[in-house]
Amino acid sequence: MSISETIRTLLVDDEDLARAVVKEHLAPHPEIEVIGECGNGFEAVKMVNELRPDLVFLDIQMPKLDGFEVLELLEHQPAVVFVTAYDEFALRAFEVHAVDYLLKPFRKERFDEALLRVSRRVREGRKGNAEPGLSYRELAGSARPAGSYLERIVIRDGAKLHVVPVEKVDYIAAADDYVSVHVGEKEFLKQQTLSSMEAMLDPRRFVRIHRGSVVNVARILRIEPYSKDSKIVLLSGGVQLPASRAGLAALEAVLGGL
């Protein structure tokens, strides 16, 4: 690929007018080619994975999936410029290595500055100079504001996307490089380590009872002795999970004494 090639761009915002203003500001830049636009998180994930754009203008508050959840589900890593009316996500945006963060409404000069940063980033990427770094998938998950926890887990399953509210999860088990999220009869695989998943969940609601499993405390039916040193945790779905001594201590801390 040569440097002179165009920057293929996707616009994601649920408001027509908001997309229109971005498009208008892009018009004087012939190197930018808008290859598509969409108005919600689901479509954004689909379009990025299919069209593989170089650049995405991404709103944060959208139907279905928010901007950060979209990033978590991408197979491909385009340069991202967040465009939002909310300034409180700026820190998180840079933690996931967004190229820029534009606050609505923005000035033309400010927009052009963002484009300058974009072309620098895209050029470096094409030269192969970009730091390999972590993927959006890993960054987006861990970039949470302090004191806030995951409310729902987003999972890509081939072309399908699943959004699972955390209160519906029974337990999450480690499976090599993946975690399997158990929701009733269903099981979803997500590429993530159990430890990083555990760190994103509210420790008052989810407890790691064993090296291999994190359990939703609300689903626990009872705890029964198993051997001298271990116990079995029974979940309301009938599932039985072994608990280690450390795991039991952690449960005890949350449940306030057993």
Binding site: D14, E15, D16, L17, A18, A20, V21, E24, G39, N40, F42, Q61, P63, K64, A85, Y86, L103, K104, P105, E151, R152, V163, P165
Partner: protein, 377 residues
Amino acid sequence: MHPFLKNKAQFAVYLALWLPLVVVFALLLQSQPSAWAMRDALGFALLAVTLLAFLFLSMYYVCRALPLRETSPGKIAGVHAVGVTTASAVWFAFALLFAWLMDRGFARGTSLEARGSYFEQVWRDLPVLAVFSVVMLTLGVAVGYLLIALESQRETEGHRQQMQTLAREAELRSLRAQINPHFLFNSLNSISALTTQNPERAREMCLLLSEFFRRNLDIGNQESTTLGEELDLVFNYLQIEMARFGKRLQVDADVPDDLRGFVLPPLLLQPLVENAVKHGIAGLVEGGKIGIRARSLSGGGLSLSIENPFDPEQPRRRRRGIGLENVRGRLDFRYGRDARFEVTREEARFRAKIQIAARGEAAGAPAQNPVPEASSQ
């Protein structure tokens, strides 16, 4: 009116408290050398003590006329001495009258000859009766002042509570009147887009936004508004949001014209409609319809409901809770038990319902007493 007479039950209890004295008084009469027949003694005691109970109450009015703080102690002592003496004299006169009537044949127990004249006995025992009545009536004066003190304390307490309630309501209202900055930024972004695309609509949006701000400022300073005015604000707001959301935001309002004059605390509907847009429509790809409905309730009340679809997979946001609590709190302050606020989530529909039983106070009048309980009940 005397506080004891304000309510029948209370008055009955007061009289019942005197019953033991009737018995004591009757026994006292019986223990005299020329014994009264038990029935006569009880009858006489009942009449005399009941009369004393009323005279006891009258002391309260004397106390009212002589506030402790504003009257010199000498005057208080003097006036009450005259009061107690006069009341005692009245009591003696009636006691003698009762005795005389009993001698004239109302007493059936024993013959006049056999027991001697009740009238003469009462006359003889006047010093004892005097001590009895002076002690009781002085006690009446003390109780009178006690009641006055309690009343004024309750009054200041009630007044303070009312002031606090009004202050709190004003605070909550001013919180509501603060316009969400994201609404402003998003609207300005829409205007920024429209200036080149459709200058006329851009100007229209500027005007709508100014109108909204002005209305919001006005309404935030008012104690009360009418349903019509509140709806004007709400529609003003919705028109701005429609520019942003386009076809995704639809509104279905059903408000009979004759209800537009209903008086309400301001900014009750606006936060609910704002929630419906922010937490309902904004989270839906296809958007949806916000339903606003007003109905009259029997007895002149009002029922309002705001309905909107929402995405059940969207995590619940805390902000919505704060807005709802604000509305609930303000309804509570203003109407107490006369208003109800219900929120229901059914599948993918959210509904907030306000019901106000009493017809609101007249427009422009100060807020009605928000303390719903009368002190006498």
